[in-house]
């Protein structure tokens, strides 16, 4: 599975389009992490717990998108975009979408 965020896969040609595929996940962090982040907020700096959490969630959203593309019979996803939105207090939605294609 080739994933790119440009319109084509360089060095290959697209032979078939399968349309839009997307994957999303909504995550909340647990109280312990929230408490630590609150303390860290006093002195500033990087919040490693949050970085880790968001990275993992984004990977999961990508996985779901790839799974959907695989079911359609695609072997590449082009023009992938990410977006983030906070749906509820303390929870964030990570969303990934792209176009599933077959390349040769």
């Amino acid at each position: 599975m080739i994933i790119t965020n440009i319109e084509t896969v360089p060095g290959k040609t697209i032979v078939e389009h399968f349309g839009l595929v997307s994957g999303s996940t909504i995550r909340a962090k647990h109280v312990g992490r929230d408490l630590m982040a609150g303390l860290k907020n006093l002195v500033g700096g990087e919040l490693k717990g949050y970085t880790q959490l968001l990275h993992e969630s984004r990977q999961q959203a990508l996985e779901r998108m790839i799974e959907q593309a695989r079911q359609l019979g695609a072997n590449a996803v082009v023009n992938v975009r990410f977006s983030t939105s906070s749906v509820a207090q303390g929870a964030a939605e990570l969303y990934a979408y792209g176009t599933a294609v077959h390349v040769k």
Partner: protein, 149 residues
């Protein structure tokens, strides 16, 4: 009496530790940016290399969540009264973006170039729905191309 001492202590702690953390972070950012000079990240969609074939293309991304210290938050809220440039937030966003770019480059490994780089920022955390910025996330992603040598 306790309350009178509590806030000045927080502010002083925020100032001292926050400044130290920021200085150390900038030093490490400069160091790693020098290390990754061989790997350009561009916002163009394609690169033209007439006689080099593209071996592989893959999506790479990097992100960082940075929070502001208590002292700077106070400065920023004071700044809100008079208006003008909020320097303390500028350095916060700058750090987050550069850190995200560096992490993206780390993920790319020994690729030749990263094309179509996008940077996204979003505020997260408890204050995300309110006016105040608690902490913010910067995320950079692009396509890493490996060209034939």
């Amino acid at each position: 009496m306790n309350n009178f001492l509590f806030f000045p202590t927080l502010i002083a702690m925020g100032y001292v530790v926050g400044t130290l953390v920021e200085k150390r972070h900038y030093r490490s950012i400069h160091e790693r940016e020098k290390k990754f000079l061989y790997l350009p990240a561009v916002t163009m969609k394609t690169v033209t290399h007439p006689d080099q074939k593209v071996m592989s293309a893959e999506l790479v991304c990097g992100s960082a969540v940075i929070s502001i210290d208590y002292f700077k938050r106070l400065l920023a809220s004071l700044r809100n009264i008079f208006g003008g440039t909020v320097k303390s937030y500028e350095s916060l966003i700058d750090r987050a973006r550069r850190e995200a770019l560096i992490r993206m480059k780390e993920m790319a490994g020994d690729s030749t170039v990263i094309v179509n780089v996008r940077i996204e920022t979003s505020t997260i955390g408890r204050n995300a729905n309110k006016k105040g910025v608690g902490c913010l996330e910067a995320m950079a992603y692009g396509t890493a191309l490996t060209l034939e040598k």
